[in-house]
C-alpha cells in the first residue's frame, strides 16, 4: 500500500542514521560494505553491468560525495566528505507516487522499502526523491534503495552486537550512528541535540529521519590556551655516555642495518 501510514498507525519509532560530517574521512568503506551486504540480502542481486569495463553502471544504495567548502573566515578551504543514502523520510512522496504498492513505509519502525517482487521498474519514485537515494537496477529491472539493513537489524542469526547496518559497522571513523530518532532519550537523538544535527533540504517537506552533524569549526589551537607551535616530545631516555651505553648503541646500529 503506497498511502503513508497514518499518525495513529505509526509506532513512534523512527529508525535511521546520524552521519557525522566532521569525522567522515571519505574512505567509501560504508558504500563498499553496503554493496557487499545487499548483493546477498534483501535487495539481492545488486549486480553491476560492465563492472570492470569502461562504462560500469549499477545500483549503489549509499554514495559518498566530496565537497570543497570555501570558508568565509580566513582559514584555508576545507574538504567535506558527504555520505548520502535514503533518509527514510517521514512524509516521502517517493512512496505515494508508486502506482503498484511496491514502495511502502513501515508503520512499526518507519523504514522505507521497495518490494522487488511487485516493482514494475517505472522509475517514478526516483523522480520524486529529492535526495537521489533511489537507483534503478538495470540488471534486475526494479528500483533499489537503502533498506536500513532491515535484514541485519532484526536478524536473530547474528550476534546482538552485529545487529546494526553494515555501513555503520564498517565505518573506521565512527562517522555513522544508527538508532531510534523518534526516542528523544536515545543515544542518536542526544548526539543530534548536542552537535546541532540538521535535515537535508528541509524545504522539501519530506521530513527526513536521518540527520547530519555539521563539521566542527576549525580550531587554531590558540583559543585552547596552547601555543600554535608544534610541541616537541621529550626523549624517553638519554644516553649517559658510559661504556655499556655505547655498546648497546653500537649493537643497535649493527642489528638494525
Amino acid at each position: 500500500m503506497t498511502s503513508l501510514p497514518t499518525a495513529e498507525e505509526r509506532s513512534g519509532k523512527k529508525l535511521g542514521l546520524v552521519i557525522d560530517l566532521d569525522t567522515c574521512v571519505g574512505c567509501h568503506a560504508c558504500a563498499v560494505s553496503c554493496k557487499e551486504w545487499n548483493t546477498q540480502g534483501y535487495s539481492a542481486p545488486l549486480t553491476d553491468v560492465d563492472a570492470y569495463g569502461s562504462d560500469p553502471l549499477g545500483a549503489w544504495l549509499n554514495r559518498i560525495h566530496t565537497y570543497e567548502v570555501a570558508t568565509v573566515d580566513d582559514m584555508p578551504n576545507r574538504t567535506v566528505h558527504f555520505p548520502r543514502s535514503c533518509l527514510h523520510c517521514e512524509e516521502p512522496a517517493c512512496v505515494t507516487v508508486c502506482p503498484t504498492g511496491a514502495s511502502y513505509k513501515r508503520a512499526e519502525d518507519g523504514i522505507v522499502l521497495v518490494n522487488p517482487d511487485t516493482c514494475i521498474g517505472c522509475k517514478l519514485c526516483s523522480w520524486a526523491c529529492p535526495y537521489g537515494a533511489r537507483e534503478y537496477d538495470p540488471s534486475h529491472g526494479v528500483m533499489k534503495k537503502c533498506t536500513l539493513c532491515v535484514d541485519r537489524i532484526y536478524n536473530e542469526h547474528l550476534e546482538p552486537e552485529a545487529r546494526q547496518p553494515a555501513c555503520v559497522l564498517a565505518c573506521p571513523a565512527g562517522a555513522r550512528h544508527y538508532g531510534d530518532l523518534g526516542d528523544p532519550d536515545s543515544a542518536v537523538s542526544k548526539l543530534v541535540a548536542q552537535r546541532d544535527g540538521y535535515d537535508l533540504l528541509p524545504q522539501s517537506g519530506y521530513k527526513p529521519v536521518n540527520k547530519y552533524l555539521p563539521p566542527r569549526p576549525r580550531r587554531t589551537g590558540v583559543e585552547d590556551g596552547a601555543a600554535a607551535e608544534p610541541k616537541v616530545l621529550e626523549p624517553i631516555a638519554k644516553g649517559d655516555g658510559s661504556l655499556s651505553d655505547r655498546f648497546f648503541a653500537w649493537a643497535d646500529q649493527v642489528l638494525t642495518r
Partner: protein, 316 residues
C-alpha cells in the same frame, strides 16, 4: 530530466487520441452533423483509439517489468500514475460501446450521446492525470507549476482538433466553426506555452548546493569529487540538461514552425473550399505534430531536478 522517447511518444500520441475521442463524444452530444457513412466512425474512432493504444503500449516499453504492468492499477488512492492507468483503461468501455452503437446505426439515440459524453469525460480525466504525474512532483521546479496540467489538456484538444477537422473535411462535413475551434485551441496552447516559459525563466532559483548539503553556514560549496568515476542512474535519468541557446531555438521551432504554422494553415483553410480546404487542413497535421513533439521534448530537457545540486549544480 532525460527525454525518453517512449514517454514523449506516449504522451503526444495518446494526448492527440484522447483529444479526438473527446471531440467525437462531445460532437455526438451537441448534435454535430457527422458524415452519414460507416467509414467515418471506423476511421475517426479507429484513429483515436489506435493512437491511444499505441501510446499506452509505448509507455510500457520503459518499464523494467512490463509483465507486471497490471499492478499499476492498484494504488489510485495515492498515485497519479495509477489513476492515469485506471482512467485510461476505464475510458475504453464507453468509447468502445460508443463506437459499436455508431456502427450499429444507433447513433443519434440518447444512449449513444451519453456514451459520447462519458468517453469525453474519460479522456479528459486521463489527460488530467497524465499532467498531474508531472505537475505534482515538487522535486522539479519547472514541472511543479500551475500551468503544466492545463497545457497537457489544451494540447490534447488542439492536436485532436487538428485531426478532427481534416477527417470531417475528407467526408465533406466540416463546418467553419470546427476550424475556428481547432485554430483557437492551438492559439490558446501557444499563449499558455509563452506564459509558462516566461514564468519558469523568471522564477527565482532559490535552492542552492549550499542549502542542499547544509554546508552553506561554513561558506561557498562546490563538488570536488563525484562518488564514482562513471555517470550513475540518477545522473543519466535526472542530470540531463540543455543549453539556454539551444532551448531558445527549439522554442522558436515549436511555436513558429509547429503550432504557428498549423494555425496559419487552418486559418487559410477557412477561406478555401473543397479539396483545397481538405488539403490545407491535412497539411496542418504535420506542423502540429512537430510542435507538440518538440514541446514535450523541451518539457523534459528543460526540467531540472533538485538532486542535481548534490551532483555539483549550483542552483536548481
Amino acid at each position: 530530466m532525460h527525454p525518453a522517447y517512449s514517454v514523449i511518444l506516449f504522451t503526444t500520441a495518446s494526448g492527440a487520441g484522447y483529444g479526438l475521442l473527446a471531440l467525437l463524444g462531445l460532437g455526438a452530444a451537441l448534435d454535430v452533423e457527422f458524415p452519414q457513412t460507416y467509414w467515418f466512425p471506423l476511421v475517426a474512432l479507429g484513429l483515436a483509439l489506435g493512437l491511444i493504444t499505441v501510446g499506452l503500449l509505448s509507455s510500457t516499453f520503459h518499464l523494467g517489468h512490463p509483465e507486471r504492468a497490471w499492478r499499476a492499477f492498484s494504488q489510485w488512492r495515492s498515485s497519479w500514475l495509477s489513476r492515469e492507468g485506471v482512467a485510461a483503461v476505464a475510458t475504453y468501455i464507453p468509447a468502445g460501446l460508443f463506437g459499436l452503437m455508431w456502427l450499429g446505426d444507433w447513433d443519434g439515440t440518447m444512449t449513444w450521446q451519453s456514451l459520447g459524453v462519458l468517453s469525453a469525460i474519460g479522456a479528459a480525466v486521463t489527460v488530467w492525470c497524465t499532467g498531474m504525474i508531472y505537475g505534482s512532483l515538487t522535486t522539479i521546479r519547472q514541472w511543479n507549476h500551475p500551468l503544466v496540467t492545463p497545457v497537457y489538456m489544451v494540447l490534447a484538444v488542439s492536436t485532436g482538433a487538428s485531426l478532427f477537422c481534416p477527417l470531417m473535411a475528407a467526408f465533406g462535413a466540416v463546418q467553419p466553426w470546427h476550424i475556428v475551434m481547432a485554430a483557437g485551441a492551438m492559439g490558446g496552447a501557444i499563449l499558455m506555452k509563452c506564459v509558462y516559459w516566461w514564468s519558469i525563466d523568471r522564477e527565482p532559483r532559490v535552492l542552492t548546493i549550499e542549502a542542499a548539503t547544509g554546508l552553506g553556514r561554513r561558506g561557498v560549496v562546490r563538488q570536488l569529487e563525484a562518488p564514482h568515476t562513471q555517470e550513475n542512474f540518477v545522473q543519466r535519468e535526472m542530470g540531463y540538461s540543455i543549453g539556454r541557446k539551444h532551448a531558445k531555438k527549439l522554442r522558436a521551432v515549436c511555436l513558429v514552425g509547429g503550432f504557428g504554422l498549423a494555425t496559419s494553415l487552418q486559418a487559410l483553410a477557412l477561406l478555401a473550399q473543397g479539396p483545397l480546404q481538405t488539403g490545407l487542413l491535412a497539411a496542418s497535421i504535420a506542423p502540429a505534430a512537430v510542435g507538440v513533439i518538440v514541446e514535450r521534448w523541451l518539457f523534459f530537457a528543460q526540467a531540472q531536478h533538485v538532486v542535481t545540486l548534490f551532483y555539483g549544480k549550483h542552483f536548481a
